[in-house]
Symmetry: C2
Subunit: 367 residues, 2 copies
Amino acid sequence: MDDRDLCWLALHLLFYGPSAAARRIVGRFSSITAVFRAVRADFEGLRVDGAAVEAIVTGRAMDRARGELEKIEKKAYTLLTFGNPGYPGYLREIFDPPFVLYCEGDPEALRNPAVAVVGARRPTPYGRAVAEKLAGDLAGRGCVVASGLAAGIDACAHRGALKKGRTVAVLGSGLDVPYPWENRGLHREIAARGAVVSEFPLGTPPLAENFPVRNRIISGLALGLVVVEAARKSGSLITAKLALSQDREVMAVPGNVTSELSAGPNGLIRDGARPVASWEDVAEGLPSPWRENLLARRDEKEENSAASLSRDERRLLDELPVDAALPIDELAERTGLSVSSLLALLLGLELKGAVVQHPGKEFQRRM
Amino acid sequence: MDDRDLCWLALHLLFYGPSAAARRIVGRFSSITAVFRAVRADFEGLRVDGAAVEAIVTGRAMDRARGELEKIEKKAYTLLTFGNPGYPGYLREIFDPPFVLYCEGDPEALRNPAVAVVGARRPTPYGRAVAEKLAGDLAGRGCVVASGLAAGIDACAHRGALKKGRTVAVLGSGLDVPYPWENRGLHREIAARGAVVSEFPLGTPPLAENFPVRNRIISGLALGLVVVEAARKSGSLITAKLALSQDREVMAVPGNVTSELSAGPNGLIRDGARPVASWEDVAEGLPSPWRENLLARRDEKEENSAASLSRDERRLLDELPVDAALPIDELAERTGLSVSSLLALLLGLELKGAVVQHPGKEFQRRM
């Protein structure tokens, strides 16, 4: 932390979120430290809120930044300011980059641009399965997966990525405000093996208005955005719009036209988004040289390759759908196997990560 | 039938199917009747099979045509020759239009260009439901639906269209050769209320090689082609390619990426086909003035409007999926209603055409 970082933080605490006034201030002065050496008259004609100018020229803004920094250090968070070489280069290029990113975990996870995977908060089993599989396949090939830690598709994307590689969560609240509550365990896991970031000052509650603001960072950190399931007029479609305005590749997973949650992705595709079904499809949509780097990993051996399954396991797996769960009775009927021998086989498949069990002894293939 | 029609038939019987030689003959002579007044020398340099020339100049080709015509009249089929004003104008524009269409039923059904709906022979319940619904919605608004009378999506498209309007089936065999056998009832129904057509002479068996040839007529008769479900490398994708080469709009119904039968449509969409979920989407894809004419019917009242359902019926309908069948037990569990009162409600919904019952007391909504 040097003085300049502290100045960025001080300005950020006054203006966080997209702010034209903050951009005008930065544009007027020769450096960020010069802002805090300025007098009232230097801000004339900038149309900046009077209270903010007062906080700057009286030193109160710097005091606040010092206080915030103390809390940040106590929490062992990292502060990435716009002037710092550790600030994500890809995020720097958007129209309204945050001056500061609070980071919990490893800031190295932000060094390379990510692929964002987002979608509905209450997805179908189909959406869950696809999000988890896509994220895992991308992460397993060295691609960081970014998402918003929301319930549903976001959580599936993070979980899938954690199994095979790294992931970054972008919050709509302060880093120290766990939200949503049911994902607090996932938050810890991501912080331990990737990074959780936010532009919101510590203690900021998850206000509804924060989420569209947060979404520009999810897509800003990414080369491209994949929308997995989304209703018409949902937040994910706003993120897709933001991504487009940031010149990011917008991709979408098509789905049955009878599913309301596929209306969003199908509509994006109709409007020009790239339809994707696999990590290779996603790779095809990325700019050079990321595209080529990722595709070069096409022939690498899958971890859970079919070869590690027994013949019986493989036959059973073929009976299981990936987009719905099948009750054990129905599975017994289809395969002609007894319930007890089925359960033994399914346990083996679960341990190999090929099958997931749902409540009521229902089983689903993990793609 | 005049002499010219007979000449077209005679030439057709020698060359049916796309034939460059036949096109060269027609190009050389001033009229179709002139072909049959020609001598051997007139065919020089045309690279036409010697046996065909012999048949033409000896009069044997005309004799054969007279024999075929007798059979056609006995069956009460209509013959539409390329020179006849009743020949479908839209089909006339393709690169290799058939010289003759045999027509069973009402040739008026061919007067306006159709919309083609094609797809897999063994579709999923999702594909069946969408094909039937799309075809019904289009036919109900005066749009003729063309397809190939194959099992699966083709049959669903014809059936859906018959419920609300007119449909045209294009065969890969002679009109008098019923194929596939299970659709012979549907064939009769289409002939009675629309048209069944073929370019193949009477008695032609359904040879595999006939179907790609037939497919160019399906798309040739249509303004656009909708592919509902299709595996990778399937016949429907060949039809889509033909449609593209004929400058027809290619449309596809997206589906879950986990379904093999959606790989075809999703792939077409990736390659530029228009994704469609409703008849309005299809209408949007058609050229003017067909597009505007069809869209003008947007606000017409649906026949099976929700208004004709009771509150209980509507609530039950909301619980039913359109792309899968739900067992009665599960429905009872979901709704909290008794099986007997459910069955009473479902019967009412079936009679109103809103629900279909599958074996084993499973019920599915008809979109």
